[in-house]
């Protein structure tokens, strides 16, 4: 038995570390630990509710759109309003564009370096000027820094890296293509952010999200500009991204068997009508092979192994959180959310799997096309590669769907519903962030925030053990993963990164009405 620590897990958002026990070359136990805490909900207390749409976006700079929309939706509920048609469509358009950005960033810039051999560039013999420039840079770095004080940083940020034997793709052409696509994807994800900015004002941290919709009145020029960037992104998704995911899956087909998890939860993504109850990707809970209807009353958060001394097993509306940095037995800043007592994976895979099993024909067509490449059935998707494929499929479907939303926009029409802040109220706002199910809950008293809580995607899947000792999805998915070289546990990193963790989101504080005196603000 050997304990191995992966601290920090890089190429994710935020501060996460993993501790694994390896026996006979396989992971037999795992703990994932959130290593950062800020205390967001307490900072929200006593403020104007509308300020929350801005403040909560700072929970995460990778998915601020999701937090902003979840916040505006929980305020919609508390204020007794619904977004108007333009408001709903504009929310879909900025969120959809950020999905494209986030999924492309995740596959190419966060995960690809676990599969692609970046050093293949040194032997590049082709004539592409961009690749030749990168090659010249890499060679120069190695020569320049050899024997120097900063030798370790030659070709940074790509090196140093895990150097397990046979860890990376051996095919030279495949590596070169992937490096070219890594560079291209840097530009494409920026173009997706241009799409967000057209209606959101800026990104990260959109200016234009308010209760009832957005602040930016759509014009023909906006729509033209958005479509121009969409065209570039769509071409990349269809011609490059999907194919690269399939190529990686071919080279690493054993990852259809690794990182498996089968309790899945989706809140439903992208409202397809003004009622707010029909979605592009269906909501529901999948456990034991059956999809059940979503009931958020069944959500609880447990803290036995989390660094909090407040009560456990509370619904978010009643949530409390009191930090206890040195709590005995606790190993993380993440709580353990449970749905009907069970841990849940959330994210693109649950969205796609639940949509597929709910009879969503558009999803079924794309999923079956990918599965056919591998002669696999739907059970193959509950895996590391299934998660990557689910993101690519979502990106492809979104590019098509976004055009329809653009066509439905009322040019020059109001981008939001009006509202008045009530004396009292409470509301729930559910969104699917790129990383999965996200819920915000607000309680308003005297026109001020009296309680505010978020249960975010990464808290679900990077959850620690719960009160009964049941382990969380990522911990469970790690168990059984073969580790060829304990000094270079790249296999574990691949499993964790497939979930796309975001720790800044996951570690926040949910707090009730009690005063906590800790540190004076200078």
């Amino acid at each position: 038995m050997a304990k191995i620590y992966l601290d920090p897990i890089t190429r994710i958002e935020g501060h996460l570390s993993i501790e694994i026990d390896v026996q006979n070359g396989k992971v037999v136990d795992a703990k994932n630990k959130g290593d950062m805490f800020r205390g967001f909900e307490k900072i929200l207390l006593g403020r104007n509710p509308v300020d929350a749409t801005q403040i909560v976006q700072r929970i995460c700079g990778v998915c601020p759109v999701s937090h902003g929309i979840a916040s505006s939706k929980c305020q919609d509920a508390a204020f007794g309003i619904k977004a108007n048609k333009n408001g709903r469509l504009l929310r879909n358009l900025v969120l959809g564009a950020n999905y494209l950005q986030s999924h492309i960033l995740h596959f190419y810039h966060l995960c690809a370096l676990d599969f692609v051999d970046i050093t293949a560039i040194l032997n590049y013999k082709g004539s592409d000027s961009g690749l030749k420039a990168v090659q010249a840079w890499a060679k120069d770095e190695l020569a320049l820094k050899k024997g120097r004080i900063d030798q370790i940083s030659a070709v940074s940020p790509f090196l140093p890296r895990y150097e397990a034997k046979d860890a990376y793709i051996a095919d030279a052409d495949l590596n070169i293509a992937a490096i070219a696509h890594y560079l291209q994807a840097l530009d494409i994800r920026m173009k997706a952010h241009k799409m967000v900015t057209v209606f959101g004002g800026r990104v990260p941290h959109l200016m234009g999200i308010v209760p009832g919709g957005l602040t930016h009145v759509p014009t023909r020029a906006n729509i033209r500009e958005y479509k121009k960037y969409l065209g570039e992104v769509e071409k990349f998704v269809n011609d490059v991204y999907i194919k690269d995911v399939v190529a990686v899956a071919r080279a690493y087909s054993d990852y259809f068997k690794l990182g498996r998890y089968e309790n899945l939860l989706s809140f439903g993504a992208f409202e397809s009508d003004d009622s707010g109850s029909a979605f592009m990707f269906q909501q529901g809970m999948l456990s034991g092979g059956n999809v059940a209807k979503l009931d958020t009353a069944l959500i609880r958060e447990q803290v036995r192994y989390a660094r909090y001394k407040s009560a456990s097993d509370l619904h978010p509306l009643k949530g409390q959180t009191e930090p206890d940095p040195h709590k005995g037995g606790a190993y993380t800043w993440l709580k353990a959310p449970r749905y009907d007592g069970k841990p849940m994976e959330v994210g693109p895979l649950p969205r796609i799997a639940i949509s597929y099993l709910s009879g969503n024909m558009a999803v079924k067509k794309e999923v079956d096309a990918v599965l056919k490449e591998f002669d696999a059935d739907i059970s193959a998707v509950f895996s590391v590669l299934g998660r990557h494929a689910a993101r690519a499929i979502e990106a492809k479907l979104l590019c098509t769907q976004i055009r329809e939303w653009l066509d439905e926009l009322e040019v020059g029409g109001s981008p939001r519903s009006t509202y008045d802040i009530p004396e009292k109220g409470e509301g729930e706002g559910l969104v699917e962030a790129p990383r999965g199910a996200l819920g915000h809950w607000i309680v308003i008293e005297d026109k001020k925030i009296a309680n505010y809580q978020c249960v975010v995607p990464t808290t679900w899947f990077c959850s620690p053990r719960d009160d009964r000792g049941n382990i969380g999805p990522v911990e469970q998915a790690l168990i059984g993963t073969p580790i060829a070289d304990p000094a270079n546990p790249i296999e574990a990193a691949r499993v964790v990164r497939s979930f796309d963790p975001c720790i800044a989101c996951a570690v926040h504080v949910v707090e009730g009405d009690r005063d906590i005196s800790q540190f004076r603000v200078c």
Partner: protein, 335 residues
């Protein structure tokens, strides 16, 4: 694609005068950048951050991010982008401390918690989780320049804001200047900062030394003018035309816009290469480049037609005072 003279000037604020280059120097600008800015090593630490500053950096257009990290800087440590994981990654920081490297620029994103070391740790050394605080103190000793990127790092920002009921902050979050009181720190605030501000400040430091700073240690070339004086809606303001609800035409002052109190050049520079701006999208400025963000005393961000009589009476132009009072008393917009 190397940075040409035009791009460089754009990055630096648009005119040669701003940057203080003489015409002769400008001739050699491109060459100077190629030579002097030969990949300055950067160690970029994230403490209590949301990664928003890093994502904003990725949105750089001139230079694009690939050019930035292969031609202008050498990004030795950046948790979101680096290839290494775990011990392989942390060795970079450990060596920088042990070998007493003095060749790098230290960038810190996020506030730094002082309430407990456990509130933010980065990596493990000899079985011990090392706090962000400890890394910053160690790396700050020898760094050749220290830059606080983003409002959290520059002034504490949202993670350092108070719980309104108690006046207390949950984690004892501090700005970089409070952690390293004796160091010279350049603040590049913004939530997030524009990529030009971050890259421009690094390049200015490399080529010309520390840029001229204002009283909040911000480069004047980016933060020297208020949003209000550059605003797309300035003529509406001067004519007393105010938006009363989101999405209406007019100056956004009544919706809580903080452009009069905030220094930055976004209305001119705009986001993502000219696509849109905070005031341009109809939301107004939330003052994210200021040290008092997000509290503004007890005012908060969106006052939404709640300007006090004192505030209204303080408005200089009688015509505007009358327009605002009219609206406050239920009058119609632009009337």
């Amino acid at each position: 694609m190397a940075l040409n003279r035009r791009d460089f000037l754009k990055l630096m604020g648009g005119t040669a005068a701003v940057f203080g280059f003489s015409g002769v120097l400008l001739q050699g600008c491109k060459k100077a950048i190629k030579e002097a800015a030969e990949r300055t090593p950067v160690i970029w630490l994230q403490a209590q951050s949301c990664s928003g500053c890093s994502v904003s950096l990725l949105n750089t257009i001139e230079p694009d991010i690939a050019t930035l990290i292969t031609e202008h800087i050498s990004l030795n440590y950046h948790q979101t982008l680096m290839g290494g994981t775990g011990e392989v990654a942390i060795r970079v920081l450990d060596e920088a401390v042990k070998k007493q490297r003095k060749d790098f620029v230290l960038v810190v994103e996020g506030s730094i918690p002082t309430g407990s070391e456990e509130y933010c740790t980065i990596g493990m050394l000899n079985g011990r989780h090392v706090s962000a605080l400890e890394w910053i103190r160690e790396l700050g000793k020898n760094a050749k320049a220290i830059l606080a990127f983003g409002t959290c790092s520059a002034y504490g920002g949202i993670p350092a804001a108070a719980d309104r009921r108690t006046g207390l902050n949950p984690t004892g979050a501090k700005s970089l200047s409070e952690i390293l009181p004796n160091a010279t720190i350049i603040n590049v605030p913004g939530c997030p900062p524009h990529p030009d501000w971050m890259i421009g400040t690094i390049l200015h430091y490399v080529l010309k030394g520390i840029p001229e700073l204002d009283e909040y240690n911000r480069p004047k070339l980016y933060f020297g003018k208020t949003v209000h004086e550059q605003c797309e809606h300035l003529s509406d303001y001067k004519r007393g035309r105010f938006a009363k609800h989101w999405g209406e035409k007019g100056c956004l002052y009544l919706l809580g816009c903080l452009g009069m109190d905030s220094g930055c050049d976004i209305p001119n520079r705009k986001w993502l290469g000219g696509v849109n701006s905070c005031t341009g999208c109809g939301s107004g400025c939330i003052g994210c480049t200021e040290s008092v963000f997000p509290d503004y005393g007890k005012r908060g961000l969106y006052k939404h037609l709640m300007a006090s009589l004192d505030e209204i009476n303080a408005l200089e132009e009688p015509q505007i005072r009358a327009a605002v009072l009219n609206l406050r008393n239920g009058g119609s917009i632009n009337g």
